[in-house]
Amino acid sequence: MNIYKYSSPKAFYPLAGKLIPWFAVLTALLLGAGLYQGLFVAPPDYQQGESVRIMFVHVPAAWMSMFIYVLMAGAGAAGLIWNAKLSEIFARSCAPIGAWFTFLALVTGSIWGKPMWGTWWAWDARITSELILLFLYLGFMALQASIDDPKRAARAAAILALVGVVNIPIIHFSVEWWNTLHQPASVSRIGRPRIHISLLIPLLLMAIAFTTYFVTVVLLRIRNEILERERHTSWVAALIRGNA
């Protein structure tokens, strides 16, 4: 099987259509298991009490916000280097999803912060750098929307995304580099995670569910982008006329 043929939008479009239901079902199963574990099985934390359950949404959302940004910048770079149309489409499709996950991470962090820290917001290095990530996503989308030519828009946005990548290690290491209100890493440490297995299981289930969810919705967006970008091709014309 030649996987390179799927770098063509024409070949990728039907493949995405076939993959979406599988990832949607997988997401539903994982999300169901994660929510059950997180809300009913996981015990309260010895310090945070029941509020630790907010972490099962907040932490995976924060991981996704960074993961999607790295994917988006990587796709942007691939678009710049190899002039690959599908990479540009992928980067463009990632941005709104990444922005929503960043928003979710910030707001759920704030909701957790009020009872635990006594404040909704602090200009702490981790929180501020995550807010900058949200602005980077919004800037990426605004830049793409402001340029009519999709090729030029993709190139300009890719450069912005690549410059913004510097923020990802800042977010990750901010809790080590500076004295922050935000607690240090407890899962992604080299060696043993500090978090107890009973809390780690729902956290990882939710993180995997968010990842498969991301694949599902990014494929939905990619299919729309392909139709728009390829509207001058005969295969899209045939597809649309066939369904008219």
Partner: protein, 48 residues
């Protein structure tokens, strides 16, 4: 969920809203894109 129940419910409800929005938006856009493309091809045929 004790004294933190409202915080937990709001956080999970918000998570659900974000997940649902991100499914609904591309599905609605799909309909718009298809309708726009149908118009585009119709206009092309009429101009020939």
């Amino acid at each position: 969920m004790g004294q933190y129940g409202s915080y937990i419910l709001v956080a999970y409800a918000l998570g659900a809203v974000v997940l649902i929005i991100n499914v609904i938006l591309p599905m609605r856009r799909r309909k718009t894109v298809r309708a726009r493309l149908r118009e585009f091809y119709r206009a092309q045929e009429q101009s020939r």
